[in-house]
Subunit: 339 residues, 2 copies
């Protein structure tokens, strides 16, 4: 790598189930030259997020897939190296969507300048970025938390779950967080202020969840699916709300699980309990972004919302870190330190 | 039966799957005497509705089950025979919840007087009653129909579905009705103004539904489940709304269908399409009842909403009529003419 050569990671093949390192390919490429109204960016941080697993597949979803041999997509924090737009100058720090690469050219309309005095720039990819906003908009708009209600959050040390739990707590809810392994479970109550923390790997997890929710569950923030959802479903109260923003347990699945077919059970539960099951992508609520920045940066300043980052050095380590994240190996918001 | 002896139908046993005539028992009972603030009612019409299947089972639901040897529950239109409340006099017509019997004593707080000059009294059990209100509140509040959207309705000649389709049409939607058999299908377009009518018994039903919904489905009003839902699910648009008020296809099921387990498929579809799946019981929306009566009676007067009743004579025929309804044998709102 030099001033004229960069690195990028492309999608080499579509994974069959769990992604393999060979589904990615790292390439040396010439650093591009910005055109009119564009800037050249040097990527500092790359965000790794579960949604990227969907982009690796050709299956229809809410966004088109990454093409084979194309650079993997992703949110990034970058530094402006050269600018053909007077509004941006070399050294400016920006939020961009430059993907898995060291350098990128970007049109400036898509960039947001970051002020490192307000918050560490990496938070623009986490608690003050897409994951934090997913938590904020999904919990407040769909979940409609009310004081005294019980809110259950899976993947609760992750960037979305940790924000959901802390915002719910700020709204006066009783919060039950679920994570995998003793370190994460301890972090839930000790740092993230969850009222109860449970380990989904515990063989008695379902019974313990029931015990932890003596008044049932009013909101379940779904970003996992699988066994956690199975344990949650019987505990849901009448009028419970289930914002669905992710289903990481299923992302590597190559076929549906064996029967019986529980789809009718889910529909019957929705009927008899007047459930609201609502899938969403944060972009739907983008009009709430100013409120989000205002509220969330205030909560962070006041120490009411805490966050944890899991930073891996080197773009070349992104595939392995990403594959591990799909199995819950990260602890906190997973970022690649690229620059 | 005389002035002093009446008939009632009690739950003799809990059905195992499809209810059998022997799950009911008809009994002669003395006509009761009203106490202070009560009236004696002679039942004229008994409403038969799918929800009653749930009350026959001990499984937990949104309402407690009917006890063994207790009178089957149900909405009724009745005539006051004797009154111990000055606000009610003999000959008054009322809506009551007197169940499957010829006579009943009732507290007057629970009664609503009916004016036969405004609409036929039987409509208080159908288009101007619980089924019509289920359609109105579920479609307007959960479905949020917008002009130009495609609304699909199952059991579309039934009292709920027929009202859903016609209200959706009044809101400027394109309506696709589904029913079983050529007579019902013809009725959908000829009388109920559906834009398209489909027979769910057609072996090419799923393909025809797709053809009938070239712009996808924005609202699916779910009161059926089963094969209709299976055909609807792939056609749902982003942000589609699915008010769930019934699942008659599953009510007689004694076990879940064989696999694969499609529950993850349903959750994934909710996620990728930002679906709203919302179970409800009309009572949740009771504050809308005045608007409902006002709107619906106006639409009926103006000929904009039509309804069809399927009236069976004689309380003794209620079990057979009810069992048939669960299999779609009724054509329109099923009522027992008791008096």
């Amino acid at each position: 790598m030099s001033d004229t050569t960069g690195l990028r990671i492309v999608l080499a093949s579509r994974p069959d189930g769990r992604p393999q390192p060979t589904d990615f390919r790292i390439e040396q490429v010439p650093v591009p030259t910005p055109g009119e109204g564009e800037v050249l960016l040097r990527v500092l941080y790359l965000s790794l997020d579960p949604y990227m697993r969907g982009r690796m597949s050709a299956a229809k979803s809410y966004a088109p897939p990454v093409e084979i041999d194309a650079t993997m997509e992703g949110g990034t924090v970058a530094e402006v190296v050269a600018s053909n737009d007077p509004a941006f100058k070399a050294g400016d720090l920006v939020l961009s969507h430059s993907g898995w690469q060291t350098h990128a050219v970007a049109k400036t309309q898509g960039l947001r300048k970051l002020n490192p005095d307000i918050a560490p720039i990496s938070t623009a990819l986490g608690v003050l970025g897409m994951p934090g906003f997913t938590a904020y908009s999904g919990l407040l708009t769909i979940g409609q938390p009310k004081a005294g209600e019980t809110v259950v959050v899976a993947a609760a040390t992750g960037p979305v779950g940790s924000a959901v739990g802390q915002i719910a707590k700020l709204k006066g809810c009783r919060t039950v967080g679920i994570a995998g392994g003793p370190d994460k479970v301890a972090f839930l109550t000790e740092t993230l202020q969850f009222d109860v923390a449970l380990d989904h790997r515990d063989p008695n997890f379902a019974a313990k969840l029931k015990e932890a929710c003596p008044d049932g569950i009013d909101i379940y923030f779904e970003n996992v699916g699988g066994a956690v959802w199975d344990a949650v479903m019987p505990l849901l109260n009448t009028y419970a709300r289930i914002p669905v923003c992710g289903l990481i347990a299923f992302y590597n699945a190559t076929s549906l699980p064996p029967g019986p077919d529980r789809m009718p059970l889910l529909m019957r539960t929705a009927l008899t309990k007047s459930l609201t099951i609502r899938g969403f992508i944060n972009a739907e609520f983008s009009s709430q972004l100013p409120d989000f920045f205002n509220d969330m940066s205030g909560w962070i300043r006041q120490g009411k919302v805490r966050y944890r980052e899991d930073i891996v050095e080197g773009l070349e380590n992104a595939p392995e870190a990403f594959i591990g994240m799909l199995e819950g190996k990260n602890f906190g918001k997973l970022l690649i330190k690229v620059g």
